[in-house]
Amino acid sequence: MPAMTPTIFVIDDDPAVRDSLALLIGTQGMRVQTFEHAEAFLQKFHPDEIGCLVLDIRMPETSGLALQDILNLRNIRMPIIFITGHGDIEECRRAFRGGAVDFLTKPINAPQLLDSLKKAIRISIQQQEQVSATQDVRQKLERITDRERLILRHVAEGLSSKEIARELDLSPRTVEAHRAKLFEKLEINSLAELVRFYLHALEATQPSQ
């Protein structure tokens, strides 16, 4: 079970930079983990973790931009803050296109870094919430039958039981029974909740297909 506390992963080949950043971030009350290179991070890292990456662009072996590409390939959307010795416009452009949150030059301006970190953590939490919500919806969807799913759609679209019965060539009584079952299985109490669930389900099932 991953820790629900956000973690800042600092990856830089220079131990002094790594250490000083860890100390600075630590003084702000955030959890920090440091890695000397990208490979070490990839070994330890769990996809469900919340937090962000502080990544040096220039590193021997795997560079910061290369790691960004790897994570994107693995569909890991953890926010990344890049740090660099001297900014290169081309690198900067690549970083932002790959979804970077910020691009900071050394020496690091502390308030700027902390702002970016907060922003990144917020993004990370949202992402994680979205992921877990989607998972919940999916689990619940697996409980209901196809007929119930059909009725769920019609109910969510605002049809009355009678209308649904006519549409599906069933008796209104049967539709009512199915509806009660749906509410029970999906742990829903009101029609509003059902509509909300339906919208989540659309969202969750659409990208997965």
Binding site: A16, V17, S20, G85, H86, D88, P107
Partner: protein, 745 residues
């Protein structure tokens, strides 16, 4: 082919054609001469025969008339007239025929009266006293005949066409100048007689046939009896020209004449044409030769006929027939054309032969000159190993005389051994002679020269075959390997030198670029500790805000910070050491050359950023005591700074680089038309790690400054009044005495 001939030759062939035609014409004429002669003779004979036949007809006519006259003497003369009419019609040359009776003096008056009565016209016997040829018509010449024993008046002229001679009626023909002698002769002889010719009214000639008619019918024995018994004379007039007119092609071109047998005869000849046309005197000798006038005289076999026939072929008969001209011209043209073709082909052959000889000569010359001038030795020997030829190079290499060697044995001039040969080597000349193939001289073939020295040679031995593939000569070509080896060694050395130069050049360029790369690397190096220091200190500051700061952690952070500051200091120290350790290699440097080198190096960069460069480099600038590479590093650094200052400039971007002497120094400056530098920047521009550029390291100018100061010079920065910035450095000139200690210090 004919076109190759000259105009003169062509013209002479036209002339030849004409001459040939003429010659053929003449030849044809000569060849046909005999046949023409024969033709002529045949024609002549034909004419003679015709003439004789006609004379016979006249004879027959006169006999017939005589018989008729004798039989019908004194009676009706109708038959006679009919006979005469018939004869005159059938034979046009007989124009008159009549019986002229003898009248005695006693009977004269009665006869004259009877005749006047019959013809209703006064009739008298008369004489003619005028000229022979004219005056017949004039009455004055006619006189009544005087008294004579007898008269033979002209009273009868048959046929009717003869009436025009009526004016002569009554003429006593026995006493006439012309007719008289013949009449008397006819009476005496009783035979046919012929009168001399006389002129007729129409200009023709005529002569008369006479025959006496006797009372007894036949002529009495004696002349006296004949004269007594004659009762008349028959006169037959003949037209000479008509008589001579013979029909037929062959005779048309001929002139016919009757010549008197007796040359004394006064009347002369009678001809179909005037005698003058017969003359050939006006024609040239050629004409005479070609067309000899033909003339033939034939006697007529009539004893009473006092003429002989002359047949003459005149000029008109000798015209060359046009077909002969055509034939002559045609055959002449044919022969001339044949000759022309032969001449043209011979001319062609001659030209080809000349060309061939010329080519042969030229090729020989080329071959000879080539052989004489090539740098390879060529030696030609015959099948018996005797030298046929050697070129000057061969003579030189072999150390023999070119002339004297010819005819010598190969072994006398060409001594070759094969050094360091692994196995036995066959004599290449012998091998070539045997195999009739080109043989390479073996490696390490060594030529022994007369001076005892050996020379390595290479070359080939080739057979020279004749047309039947038999060996004619052997050609040995060879060359001394020593110069080649030397040249190869030299070439190798030269290329090695070039390689070294290139390497040096590459190294130099690499070193110039090192400064830029170094500053970039240094920036990264220094940025790391700086970044760490900033972060440590920020962390400390943050911790200090806590009510109870973690002192140990604080201390650790500060300690780390100090360590990183030391690290940065260490890097800077190392950099200083690095720059200082670069002991300048001072030499005489041409700063202009350094500037030009740099412009070449950054050319593509200038182009990429659309920066144009103008230079004003002083000519004959004294050299400076400096390190060439370092000067170039500084110039490049200044140029790159200027280019970076121009990066954000819209519009024209210009660099201006100049050099000039300044007292004992040489100044090199780089100006740009950029925004220039603010005052505070200008003060700090040479301080380490100061940069006005977001990505600048702040080291380039510092290092440049250090480099220039190390070489005893100064580097200045400033703004131009016209806008833009200027950086320039000055370096000391080389003193003429070569005193350089100051620069080294």
């Amino acid at each position: 082919m004919i076109g190759d001939l000259s105009m003169r030759v062509k013209a002479s062939f036209v002339l030849l054609w004409l001459l040939l035609s003429l010659a053929i014409l003449l030849a044809a004429l000569f060849l046909t001469e005999e046949s023409r002669q024969q033709q002529f003779e045949a024609a002549t004979l034909h004419i003679k025969k015709t003439l004789e036949e006609r004379l016979l007809i006249c004879e027959t006519a006169i006999y017939g008339f005589a018989e008729l006259s004798a039989a019908n003497y004194g009676s009706e003369q109708t038959r006679l007239r009919q006979f005469a009419q018939n004869i005159g019609t059938r034979y046009p040359y007989i124009y008159l025929m009549g019986f002229q009776p003898t009248v005695s003096l006693a009977d004269r008056e009665g006869f004259e009266a009877a005749m006047s009565f019959r013809s209703k016209h006064p009739f008298f016997i008369k004489d003619y006293n005028g000229q022979k040829d004219s005056g017949w018509q004039q009455a004055q010449f006619w006189r009544p005949a005087p008294a004579r024993p007898y008269y033979i008046p002209l009273v009868d002229a048959q046929p009717a066409s003869a009436r025009r001679y009526d004016f002569m009626t009554g003429l006593d023909i026995a006493r006439d100048q012309v007719l008289g002698p013949a009449v008397l002769q006819a009476i005496r002889s009783g035979e046919i007689e012929v009168t001399p010719p006389f002129n007729l009214q129409d200009g023709e000639h005529g002569f008369g046939y006479l025959k006496a008619v006797y009372r007894e019918g036949v002529a009495p024995e004696t002349v006296a009896e004949r004269q007594d018994s004659v009762i008349g004379i028959i006169l037959l007039g003949v037209r000479a020209e008509t008589l001579l007119t013979v029909q037929g092609d062959s005779s048309r071109q001929l002139d016919l004449r009757l010549l008197p047998n007796d040359p004394q005869q006064p009347l002369g000849s009678i001809g179909t044409h005037p005698a003058a046309t017969i003359s050939t005197a006006s024609s040239g000798w050629l004409h005479q030769m070609l067309f000899p006038s033909r003339q033939m005289q034939l006697s007529i076999e009539r004893d009473y006929f006092p003429y002989r026939l002359e047949v003459f072929r005149g000029d008109d008969a000798n015209r060359i027939p046009p077909p002969l001209y055509g034939l002559a011209l045609g055959s002449g043209a044919f022969i001339a054309a044949l000759l022309l073709l032969i001449a043209a082909s011979q001319n062609n052959e001659r030209l080809q032969s000349e060309r061939y000889h010329e080519t042969l000569h030229r090729e020989r010359q080329q071959a000879l000159i080539t052989l004489e001038s090539i740098d390879d030795a060529v030696l030609v020997i015959d099948g018996d190993y005797r030298v046929e030829y050697l070129n000057p190079k061969a003579a030189l290499l072999l150390g023999v005389s070119q002339q004297r060697s010819v005819g010598m044995l190969l072994s006398e001039v060409w001594k070759v051994r094969f050094e360091l040969a692994r196995g036995a080597i066959a004599d290449p000349v012998a091998a070539c002679r045997q195999q009739l193939q080109r043989i390479e001289l073996p490696e390490n073939a060594c030529l022994l020269r007369p001076d005892g020295q050996g020379a390595f040679i290479e070359g080939t031995v080739s057979p020279l075959l004749d047309q039947d593939d038999n060996l004619r000569s052997i050609v040995i070509t060879f060359r001394d390997m020593a110069p080649l080896r030397q040249r190869m060694a030299e070439a190798l050395e030269r290329s090695e030198q070039r390689l070294k130069q290139h390497q040096a050049e590459l190294a130099r360029v690499a070193r110039i670029n090192t400064l830029g790369e170094m500053t970039s690397g240094i920036a990264h190096e220094i940025n790391q500790p700086l970044s760490a220091i900033v972060s440590y200190n920020e962390a400390c500051l943050s911790m200090l805000e806590d009510e109870e700061p973690d002192r140990i952690l604080l201390k650790t952070a500060l300690f780390s910070s100090v360590k990183q500051a030391q690290r940065a200091g260490h890097i800077v120290k190392k950099l200083r050491e690095f720059v200082a350790s670069k002991q300048a290699e001072l030499s005489a440097v041409d700063v202009n050359q350094a500037v030009l080198n740099v412009i070449t190096l950054i050319e593509s960069e200038l182009r990429d950023h659309a920066v144009t460069v103008d230079t004003d480099l002083a000519g004959e600038l004294p050299r400076v005591q400096a390190d060439a590479i370092q000067v170039e590093q500084v110039v490049m650094n200044l140029c790159k700074n200027a280019m970076e200052a121009l990066m954000d400039l819209p519009g024209e971007r210009r660099l201006f680089i100049y050099s000039e002497p300044r007292g004992q120094r040489v100044r090199v400056g780089v100006r740009d038309n950029g925004p220039g530098m603010p005052a505070d920047t200008l003060q700090k521009v040479f301080q380490p790690f100061f940069s006005s550029k977001s990505q600048g390291m702040g080291l380039g100018l510092t290092i440049s400054h250090t480099i220039i100061e190390n070489m005893g010079g100064v580097l200045h920065a400033g703004n131009l009044d016209t806008g833009g910035a200027e950086f320039y450095f000055e370096l000391p000139m080389i003193k003429p005495q070569g005193e350089t200690e100051g620069a080294r210090a």
